[in-house]
Amino acid sequence: MAEPGLVAERRPGALAAYRALLGAQARSQAAYRTSFVVDLVGNVGATVFDVVTVLVLFGVTRELGGFTLREALVIVGISAFGFATADLLVGNIERLPRYVRTGLLDAVLVRPLGALPQLLLMDLPLRKVSRAVFGLGVLVVAVTSAGLDWTAARLALVVVAPLAAIVFFGSVFVTTATVSFYWIDSGELANSVTYGGRDFTSYPITVYGGWFRAVFAYGIGFAFVSYHPALALLGRADPLGLPAWVGWASPGVALVAAAVAAAAWRVGVRHYRSTGS
């Protein structure tokens, strides 16, 4: 029997099948052109308002957690672009409870293709492209206006850190979705880590306190997504006392997160018993 995981995608012809799935999705979503345009515009709004929120907060105060608006925008940019792109690529996996309830997951599992890529491609929300593009815009404006002292290493980091953020957020989406293999009615529980993570990484972690910061920043690893890379880009020492090289650790942390997500997915799929309807 085929391994119901990520391995199957190396099969000959699998790529063509995935391409067909994606093409069908793209055509069906673009079929109602007005709806699609409304969706594109509407979706950008969510990310716009995240950034507006940061701007409003800086309208009340000059510094947030010891960071000026220009410095904080670098953090916001990495977080917004990373989250929006991950949400575009794998965010719809949060609908896993629905796939389980409607029996779609059963249909997907019996096909000779990887279950996760199938689910992602069958439901790829192209309308969220606008969000990712806006996130990229914020990131570009932030790093160009922050007056960075450019070195070759920083140039590399400004490319790698957002990519690592995408991988990290994507892993968080997949890992939290696997909870619904065990608890179908977990509802919005996953949101607390996915959207909660987005909110957490939008601000310098110095604003948070106590065990809450410890859990989110270093327990789950959100500090490595935007805060530490931004410190490295800005050339600032960590007020919380971690060494400077931590800023460059984000790709490694992202890979660990991806490995955890893959393992959680495999264990989850193995554990899965159909709802039986």
Partner: protein
């Protein structure tokens, strides 16, 4: 209907009482229906709690050396965040598509056959739902917040009843807004566009992402007077933390009431128009 007889109760009165009983029965069934989703309530409370921590830390970081921001002190901000996380599920800003779904599938036809006006019966169900949510979703964050943060407790005796009144009006108003958004399905079939607009504008303009008092004063006045959004969420919270003196509090609740009446009237008008042009889907 044993206790209501023509000899004891005048006919006009009996109508009022009877429709009140119907309303109460529908509300009670709404309460029971939502009380069955217990696991979802637990998951929701966990999520509200996490967001409570996130927002609370960020808003507290905004306060100046004197510990104030936007006219709130630190305790008031903490109360706003934690009561707000609970209130979110009571007014149910997002995620209600019952009416739109029934219009799309044609099931709305059976609602129209009932002797109770659809706006009234859906409102009754929603009040029942809100009643359950105020126990299962409002209480937990309100109790959890003070364990970790110094919160502000109301000092005037009149504040608590006024807060309760303000929340009830907010529920009715929020229901009316959701009803209008859902009712676009009579014309559009697919309400996704309207729903996205509602989700975006309500989250920001109601004061969920940041207290509206952080905005410039002119903008605040415009928002409160020209849109129903602040009355959905920010007003009950401002009443609770006594942001303003008592007369202003009363004024804000009065404004809320005005919006609720306006929006509910709009619901009935829209429903009437829709019924005249409705072609039930699916035969």
């Amino acid at each position: 209907m044993g206790s209501v007889t023509a000899t004891v109760v005048p006919p006009t009165d009996s109508n009022v009482i009877r429709s009140f009983r119907t309303f109460r029965a529908i509300a009670a069934s709404g309460f029971r229906r939502y009380a069955t989703y217990r696991q979802a309530a637990v998951a929701g409370v966990v999520t509200n709690t996490v967001f409570g921590f996130l927002r609370c830390y960020v808003f507290l970081a905004v306060t100046d050396a004197a510990g104030t921001a936007g006219g709130y002190d630190r305790g008031q901000l903490a109360t706003i965040v934690w009561a707000g996380q609970g209130l979110l599920a009571v007014i149910l800003l997002w995620g209600w598509t019952d009416l739109a779904d029934r219009i799309r599938t044609g099931e709305i036809a059976s609602d129209l056959l009932r002797p109770v006006h659809p706006v009234t019966s859906y409102l009754a169900t929603d009040l029942g739902r809100a009643g359950y949510a105020s126990i299962s979703r409002l209480l937990p964050p309100v109790l959890i917040g003070p364990l970790f943060f110094d919160v502000y407790l109301p000092r005037r005796w009149a504040t608590l009843p006024l807060f309760v009144l303000s929340v009830v009006i907010a529920v009715v108003l929020c229901f009316g807004c959701r009803y209008l958004v859902n009712a676009t399905a009579y014309w559009l079939q697919d309400v996704r566009g309207a729903m996205i607009l509602w989700t975006l504008s309500s989250g920001t303009l109601a004061g969920l992402y940041f207290p509206l008092r952080f905005l410039p004063e002119g903008l605040q006045v415009a928002l409160w007077a020209a849109t129903p959004f602040p009355s959905l969420f920010q007003t009950p919270l401002d009443v609770l933390v006594e942001r303003d003196p008592a007369p202003v509090q009363l004024g804000l609740v009065g404004l809320q009431l005005t919006w609720a009446v306006l929006i509910l009237t709009a619901c009935r008008l829209v429903q009437g128009r829709a019924e005249r042009r409705l072609v039930v889907q699916g035969g």
